[in-house]
């Protein structure tokens, strides 16, 4: 069973009225210091999330008012530098044919704006300026940022991120722990009429006490961070004030909604009083010392007010010792009464004392104390009525001062309300003097009584928020936080939402309030120049911000720039020239700088991959990989491109890479080919033949027809890669002098069906030197196979010459070019055409015929 919500929650389900935020919906937010003090003097400080002062527009009509002159004056204006025209010369500037244009960056919230020309009256003609000379501003592009964060905020934002995510996990775990306790039939009801799962979480009710205790611990950590920041002298003083405000609000929320015991059924008075004393320390110690150091302290004009303040703030012992100074008073009734009050004041039972095993013990003790106090007071006054406590005229006026003390001790509501300097002080005193049995549930009622006499100064945002929290007006409090600061509303909103204290307001919001605040907060992070440093933080907030957040997460993660190709810029050129000159030196230096950037990029890629995994963004990661692979292919980084394509599951890209590498053999020769193949991930090559074999094993054994379409991307890329690997083996055999093995590899390449048709002719030409080896390297059967392939090439080449011969021609060009390079003659190389190709194939036929003869006559398979 979920704990009854009546425990600490004010939200008696039947009530609901505390949550209606209709009252404040029409109210403009406090016009106080709503701007975000970014500490930058060179610009206007703005907080995109905070409604500007004219934001009370509600509906279209008021929207129009936005544009009206006077409202616009209140809008924060950023003056771009260098200015285009002096103040008052706008007309002249406009008349010159100029206007301004802007464009928005898709990441980081940057806006670029520039001075441009108004369209000409004939849009098919270029616009003209009245004068052709250009000013500096005409030649400038201005960049502005929507929000910029001082370091201390960045610190808070970064550190609180971890707490935020822990909080989400803790609550999620508690849900999954409690889920089995919800009956299956209830889970079945979680499907709505439209067939959507409405979230089983909502069936569970507010978190259990254990979870709330965990949440409180995390809220403590939020508070620790704020405490550190508000006390840090290096932080801008305005910001420290803000952090203090955050601290006080969050602290109050914790006292009220995240009780130590997780249930919130206990007495709340002392905790509230502590909070009041923390927010607004009083009375002032130095004033106390001042009073006590006078000869007769009671002659000090602030003596009694000071005593009253001490009592209100729960400092009963200091108050008692002040009163005890009156025992030296010459007039006996005064000294007697003072002594009586001091004695009782110092023994007022406090709920925080450890001697109470249960609340009831304390309450009884307090009751007894009060009864005893009243009895002894009555025996002092001896039934004397008002104005008659002190019979000597000189001291008659003292009675009212004493009465105040007495009535405060008795907890007389009217007296408390009169003496308290503000609503907070009254509230703090209420739970320790008036209603010592005060529970969290009573607060709205108590607050109503207090605010009736001591209204909150609504121009003080902080006060408005705090009193709303105490009155259980959650929405009002959160809206106030939203006006104050988006970090606060996001994190407090999240906490309160987890406690199910934030009702939905479908009238005004299409998404839950918590999600709305989290999205606004994420947007602050997104719209700041350092957004790229926050990308991971943004991911988490978006991920936990409902469906809309998830959707934004998808586009957010796509726009993280991973500069695997960034190093090419300018540097490639240097490296190329340097490697050409000296391959051993020079390159190392460049590579170090480069590899560092690459390492950074790879690290970022790993993080993005991990994030995509964690947030289940497989499709997005495929797209990211695909984009990266494309970039890498373009700069010739085939190895890394192949890895990216594998991650993207992009078989087509893999076979494109394989083809590109093969092209490198044809156009640049075997050295380049081997270099490129070696950049490919070794596993890719070693696994390709197995993958291909597996695909081939799926052939239907009876018909020999493949189950899969033969041209499926998978089989193509597997066969392309297998070809690369086998072809590399062939080249290696050749360079190692293992000509017989090279020969059989060549036959294998041509007969296994893995070679793309374009390369057949090249392979046949390759075979010539092997065919004419002094040893017989091809058996007659192998030679017949090659002949068959040759015939196929020749017959097909008659109608599709470019498909079958083009690569051969490029290959021949490359060979002849390298030859002519050696011969210092560059004229000849480029003249090779199809004719040359045909001729070359005839050479192959001749070589094959010769080899066939040799193989039949003298070879190992000679029939003779």
């Amino acid at each position: 069973m979920a704990p009854a919500p009546t425990g600490f929650s004010f939200s008696t389900p039947s009530g609901g009225s505390p949550f209606s935020f209709a009252p404040q919906s029409q109210k403009p937010p406090a016009s106080g210091p709503s701007t975000f003090p970014l500490g930058s003097s060179s610009s206007f400080a703005a907080k995109p999330s905070a409604p500007a002062s004219n934001q009370d527009a509600d509906g279209m009509d008021e929207d129009e008012a936005i544009e009206d002159g006077e409202d616009e004056d209140e809008v924060e204006t950023c003056y771009l530098q260098p200015a285009a025209y002096p103040k008052g010369e706008k007309k002249k500037w406009k008349a010159s044919g100029r206007t301004i244009s802007a464009t928005v960056s898709p990441a980081g919230g940057e806006i670029a704006s520039w001075v441009t020309k108004k369209p000409a009256s004939n849009p098919n003609e270029p616009s003209q300026l009245s004068s052709t000379s250009l000013s500096i501003s005409d030649r400038t592009i201005f960049f502005t940022s929507l929000s910029s964060l001082p370091n201390s905020l960045i610190q808070l934002y970064t550190e609180s991120h971890l707490l935020f995510t822990s909080l989400q996990q803790i609550v999620a775990e508690s849900h999954s722990r409690r889920l089995p306790s919800v009956g299956m039939e209830k889970i079945a009801e979680a499907w709505d009429r439209r067939g959507n799962l409405v979230g089983v979480e909502s069936l569970l009710g507010p978190p259990d006490a254990e979870t709330i205790m965990h949440m409180r611990r995390l809220a403590d950590l939020y508070l620790d961070q704020l405490a550190e920041l508000k006390g840090n002298q290096d932080v801008d003083v305005e910001l420290r004030t803000r952090f203090t405000a955050f601290y006080n609000i969050l602290n109050l929320a914790e006292v009220l909604y995240l009780p130590v015991d997780g249930k919130g059924e206990g007495l709340v008075g002392e905790e509230l009083l502590d909070w009041v004393n923390d927010v607004d320390p009083a009375p002032d110690n130095s004033q106390g010392n001042d009073i006590m150091s006078t000869k007769n302290p009671w002659d000090h004009p602030s003596f009694f007010p000071y005593v009253s303040r001490c009592i209100l703030r729960g400092f009963h012992l200091p108050a008692a010792s002040f009163l005890r100074s009156l025992t030296n008073h010459s007039y006996t009734p005064i000294s007697r009464l003072a002594s009586l009050l001091a004695q009782h004041l110092s023994i007022i039972p406090r709920s925080t004392e450890e001697r109470w095993r249960v609340d009831l013990e304390f309450l009884q003790a307090h009751k007894q104390w009060l009864a005893k106090f009243r009895a002894e007071l009555a025996s002092f006054t001896g039934g004397r009525g008002r104005g008659k406590w002190f019979e000597v005229d000189t001291y008659r006026a003292w009675e009212s001062d004493f009465r105040i003390v007495v009535e405060l001790m008795e907890g007389k509501p009217t007296r408390i309300l009169e003496e308290a300097s503000d609503w907070r002080e009254a509230l703090g005193a209420w739970g320790t003097l008036v209603d010592v049995d005060m529970r969290r549930d009573h607060l709205p009622e108590v607050m109503a009584m207090i605010l009736d006499k001591i209204p909150v100064d609504t121009t003080l945002q902080e006060d408005a928020i705090q009193s709303a929290l105490c009155s259980a007006e959650i929405i009002k409090a959160l809206m106030g936080c939203y006006d104050l600061d988006i970090w606060l509303s996001a994190h407090l909103g999240d906490l309160l939402d987890k406690l199910e204290l934030v009702p939905d307001d479908e009238q005004r919001f299409e998404i839950p309030l918590r999600d709305y605040f989290l999205l606004e907060y994420a947007e602050i992070l997104q719209n700041n120049p350092k957004y790229s440093a926050f990308w991971r933080v943004i991911c988490d907030y978006l991920n936990y911000a409902g469906q809309e957040g998830r959707n934004r997460l998808k586009s957010h993660i796509m726009r993280i720039s991973i500069s695997l190709d960034s190093t090419q810029k300018g540097k490639t050129k240097q490296i190329d020239s340097q490697t050409a000159i000296n391959q051993d030196e020079g390159m190392d230096v460049e590579e170090e700088g480069e590899s560092k950037e690459i390492q950074e990029a790879v690290r970022l890629l790993d993080e993005v991959r991990a994030a995509c995994g964690e947030f289940k963004l497989e499709e997005e990661f495929k797209m990211i990989s695909q984009i990266l692979a494309g970039k890498l292919i373009r700069i010739g980084e085939y190895g890394m491109a192949a890895s990216m394509s594998m991650m993207a599951g992009d078989g087509w890209a893999l076979s494109r890479i394989a083809e590109t590498i093969l092209d490198a053999y044809i156009s640049d020769g075997d050295e380049e080919f081997l270099r490129l193949v070696d950049t490919l991930p070794p596993t890719l090559l070693s696994e390709a033949p197995t993958a291909l074999a597996e695909l081939q094993s799926q052939l239907d054994p009876s018909s020999g027809l493949p189950d899969l379409p033969a041209t499926s991307a998978l089989s193509i890329f597997a066969s392309r890669l297998t070809f690369l690997s086998e072809f590399r083996d062939y080249l290696l055999f050749l360079t190692q002098g293992a000509r017989d093995r090279a020969a059989s590899k060549l036959v294998g390449l041509l007969t296994s069906g893995i070679a793309p048709v374009g390369i057949w002719a090249v392979l046949l030409v390759e075979s010539v030197t092997l065919l004419e080896d002094s040893e017989i390297l091809f058996s007659s059967n192998e030679t017949f196979e090659l002949l068959r392939v040759l015939e196929e090439v020749k017959s097909n080449a008659t109608f599709a010459p470019s498909d079958y011969l083009l690569q051969l021609i490029q290959y021949l060009q490359q060979i002849s070019k390298s030859k002519t390079d050696q011969a210092e003659n560059s004229q000849k190389g480029m003249k090779i055409g199809f004719e040359e190709g045909w001729k070359k194939l005839d050479e192959v036929r001749l070589a094959l015929a010769r080899n066939l003869a040799r193989a039949l006559v003298g070879g190992f398979d000679s029939p003779f």
Partner: protein
């Protein structure tokens, strides 16, 4: 909001258009008459911009630029008064510091090409570029060829004579008589792709003196003709001034779309567009079928700035949550929706000298 940086692109005439790439890390700048050049800048780690390259791209002033989605490679399209659109590809390796490689010259327009915009990508799709020129034709070109050297023109769409949504009229094939000079002088031409592909390729467009935004579905193949989905007529008693710009907000998966438009008389409108209800849901839902409207529908949810100076441009940020506008008063404005579903002016920028010496803003 604060000015973070500035850049002197070093063109010999004023800049006509600036565009960011997909990641906001590159900036392409085009200029007017004198140099007809495109320059590309890259953001450094410190946030400044380094010029990567520049080249003369057209024979007349360049009007508009657009980067492609990176899945289609590093492409840039430029449109110009010379009635052409050119597609440029970033060179690789050695030619890195050189000009971008011209992959296509897209012709056919009978007037200046006012705007060019690459379509949105999903995996496996081919790059498409939409253009609109003062002849009021929307032309879409696509390239199925991986080398990007072969671009085919889809059936050109004459915006003024598009049949209204749902009507069975065939689009007028022969098109209009020439655009009148009055229309030329006061008209506007603009396009903006829908940023999601769920409903296919959809584009918003306007032309000439008409204040209507027309939303058109573009077929995948080059031979089929397009379909009008929705016409956004200005609300009753609202301004019918010709439009100057349109921008389709990234919807980030929301159930609705936002389109902003700017007008010659300064009116900025924000439209809320809802796509047809999901079919799947209809099956589960017998009772309130009225919720599941058949076609696209749109409401004007905000309108401001009537009677002001001509709006130069409207543009959304990446999440579709803030709108930036400019006008001929030389003011850049940024709007954001409030939690009360109205729109508020968040801030503005001007190139005017600050009011008092030494004091900025406030």
């Amino acid at each position: 909001m604060l000015q973070t940086n500035l850049l002197a692109p070093g063109h010999s005439d004023v800049v006509t258009h600036v565009t960011y790439d997909f990641y906001g890390e590159r900036l392409s700048v085009a200029t007017c008459s004198a140099d007809q050049k495109i320059k590309v800048f890259r953001k450094t780690q410190e946030g400044t911009w380094d010029q990567e390259t520049e080249w003369k791209a057209h024979d007349a002033p360049i009007l508009h630029l657009s980067f492609s989605h990176p899945v289609h490679g590093s492409l840039l399209a430029s449109s110009s008064h010379d009635r052409s659109v050119r597609v440029w590809e970033e060179p690789t390796g050695r030619e890195r510091d050189g000009r971008w490689i011209e992959r296509a010259v897209l012709t056919g327009a009978k007037g200046s090409v006012k705007q060019v915009e690459f379509g949105v990508a999903d995996a496996g799709s081919e790059p498409r570029v939409a253009t609109i020129s003062t002849d009021s034709y929307l032309r879409i070109y696509s390239s199925a060829d991986p080398s990007l050297s072969d671009w085919s023109l889809h059936q050109p769409i004459h915006i003024p004579t598009l049949p209204t949504p749902g009507s069975t009229d065939e689009p007028t094939v022969d098109g209009p008589s020439n655009t009148s000079s009055g229309e030329l002088a006061n008209g506007g031409w603009g396009i903006s792709w829908c940023k999601e592909r769920w409903w296919g390729s959809i584009i918003a467009s306007f032309s000439g003196l008409s204040p209507i935004i027309k939303i058109i579905s573009i077929p995948l193949d080059t031979s089929s003709s397009s379909t009008s989905l929705l016409f956004l007529n200005p609300p009753q008693s609202s301004s019918t001034s010709p439009l100057t710009s349109v921008s389709w907000a990234p919807s980030c998966g929301r159930a609705y779309h936002l389109i902003a438009s700017g007008s010659r008389d300064g009116t900025v409108r924000i439209w809320r567009i809802e796509p047809p209800g999901e079919k799947l849901r209809v099956d589960y839902n017998d009772n309130d079928e009225s919720d599941n409207h058949v076609g696209w529908k749109g409401d004007c949810v905000a309108e401001f700035g009537k009677g002001g100076a001509r709006v130069g441009m409207v543009d959304w940020n990446a999440t579709g949550t803030t709108l930036t506008t400019t006008d001929d008063e030389g003011v850049v404005r940024i709007y954001k929706p409030t939690y009360a579903r109205s729109w508020k002016l968040l801030g503005q920028m001007t190139a005017e000298e600050p009011p008092y010496e030494g004091e900025n803003g406030q």
